[in-house]
């Protein structure tokens, strides 16, 4: 095993460990912090793959954005410091079954796929290439999904503003 491989397993172990902690802790704030660490681990994996841009996006969007949002919503709910109620046994069984099913499906796909065919093909993950593909309307371009996603985000933004304004009006009246 090479030095590089040891690093991969270390990162993988870290991601899995923190993810396990995230689902097992019964304090909701701690769960979000473990999730944060897990997501940082994923970013580390991207760094390991030399995909710096993706790694930085992972950190900026998931860690700096989504986890902060989660933490904010935890702050705004009351009694966030209390322990959450223990999950019921049936719930545990069903979620375990669902996870196993997911695992089985994923491994099926993984084992059916043959890796190695495009190993020699250099992956061009430079920013110029990403930018060009993002704004490419033709074959292999991502302009349409990019615009669709931005429309969706805009709709979400407007929707949240509308909801927030409605609550304020009620308070005034």
């Amino acid at each position: 095993m090479e030095f590089k491989d040891i690093f991969f397993y270390l990162i993988a172990l870290y991601i899995l460990g923190t993810a396990l902690m995230a689902v097992n802790t019964r304090k909701i704030f701690r769960a979000s912090i473990w999730l944060l660490f897990s997501l940082i681990g994923v970013a580390a994996l991207y760094f390991w793959l030399n995909l710096e841009f993706l790694a930085a996006v992972q950190v900026a969007v998931y860690v700096g954005g989504i986890v902060v949002l989660i933490i904010f919503s935890i702050f705004l709910t009351q009694k966030s410091g209390n322990q959450m109620a223990k999950t019921e046994t049936t719930q545990t069984v069903f979620s375990a079954l669902a996870s196993l099913l997911g695992l089985a499906f994923l491994s099926l796909v993984l084992f059916q796929h043959s890796f190695g065919s495009d190993q020699n093909q250099e992956l061009n993950a430079s920013i110029e290439n990403i930018g060009a593909q993002m704004l490419n309307p033709g074959e292999g371009g991502f302009l349409l999904p990019f615009e669709a996603v931005s429309m969706l985000l805009l709709a979400a933004l407007v929707g949240s503003i509308v909801i927030a304004m409605k609550v304020k009006n009620k308070e005034n009246a």
Binding site: K27, F53, F72, I127
Partner: protein, 358 residues
């Protein structure tokens, strides 16, 4: 004259002559880690002393003047005191997160140091997404503050954490826009490229008025992002007694304190790199003799003097302005800075496409 870039290459070549590639890598990593930690300690000591001296100067006082000549060992003595202080955990606090928070803030400040070019060919990791890496990682530092505020089990801390969360997230956008405007002009995210693009003049001068606007917005936004007065809502000692670090004492408090100064250094270093040419010496058009003299000054001196000038400006803000209110703070960002910086970015893009810059 001793130049930093020569030292690094000298170490690399002398190590490579004797050892295998892996061990050279490991040894260099260790050296860099030690150097970074030393730099941290030094920066902390210098910046805290500088803050105290600058504030004393502005406030017609003497400042620290007992420990060592002109008080230069004052911060070292303070650190010693803080190390010896008992670090206790308040009742009802989330112990694990309470203890973790200062380290999160500190580690993030350390990671941010990686892509900064201290001198010619002298950076820890000149990765190809340099400035984006910094924007991304610095967005995580808010987590440490939120953690500290929540885990302290204190309403003041919680309010401070909420404030700083809202504040940092908002001002990150403006800071990002300001950084982006230089990236648009340069066409690269890599710090070495950005510095190289300023060999014939700093972007502050080359980019006309939009660059100047971007620079001003950048300085305002990073002042807010590092929780410095007049935007120190997270601490706001007269309102929230100490904000998110109300309950912290001893070395844990010192880590927050240190991280604040390291963050100031980093944002000022980025500001100097983006707008003031990083380690590039100051040149004036065709004045060959003048340019030669400027070239003779080591690049590290250029970089540090620009950075410390910006640090001084930020300290000057702190000791002059009253604090904004939280809603005014957010209003400033969302109603003024963000629209201005968006429009400014458009202008800069136009300049970059048309090649109107020098």
């Amino acid at each position: 004259m001793l130049r930093l870039e020569n030292i690094s290459s000298f170490i690399h070549t002398s190590l490579s002559n004797h050892l295998s590639e892996t061990s050279v890598l490991l040894l260099e990593m260790t050296i860099i880690a030690l150097a970074a930690i030393t730099l941290f300690a030094l920066l902390g000591l210098i910046l805290v002393l500088m803050e105290r001296k600058v504030s004393a100067w502005i406030q017609i006082r003497l400042g620290p003047n007992r420990v060592g000549p002109k008080g230069i060992f004052q911060t070292a003595a303070d650190t010693l005191k803080l190390v010896l202080k008992e670090g206790f955990v308040p009742d009802g606090a989330d112990k694990f997160l309470y203890k973790l928070a200062p380290f999160v803030v500190m580690i993030i400040a350390m990671i941010l140091l990686a892509p900064i070019a201290f001198a010619k060919n002298f950076a820890i990791w000149d990765l190809n997404i340099g400035v984006f890496f910094i924007t991304a990682i610095s967005s995580v530092s808010v987590i440490g503050i939120l953690m500290a505020g929540w885990a302290s089990n204190n309403q003041y801390s919680l309010l401070g954490a909420m404030r700083s969360g809202a504040q940092i997230i908002s001002y990150e956008i403006s800071a990002g826009m300001a950084i982006l405007s230089i990236v648009v002009l340069t066409g690269s995210l890599q710090i070495s490229d950005i510095v190289a693009s300023q060999s014939n003049g700093w972007w502050l001068f080359k980019g006309h008025i939009p660059a100047l606007i971007a620079f001003v917005i950048y300085i305002i936004a990073v002042t807010a992002e590092t929780n410095r007065a007049p935007f120190d809502m997270a601490e706001a000692e007269s309102e929230l007694t100490g904000g998110f670090h109300t309950e912290y004492a001893g070395m844990r408090f010192a880590l927050f304190f240190l991280a604040e100064y390291i963050n100031i250094f980093i944002v000022c270093a980025i500001g100097a790199t983006l707008f003031l040419g990083g380690w590039m010496p100051f040149h004036i058009g065709n004045w060959e003799a003048f340019n030669h003299i400027m070239d003779y000054i080591p690049s590290s001196i250029w970089f540090l003097s620009k950075t410390f000038f910006l640090i001084f400006v930020i300290m000057w803000f702190r000791w002059t302005f009253p604090r904004l209110r939280i809603d005014q703070l957010l209003q400033l960002e969302w109603k003024y800075l963000l629209p201005i910086s968006l429009f400014n970015l458009l202008l800069i893009t136009l300049i970059a496409i048309k090649g109107w810059h020098f």
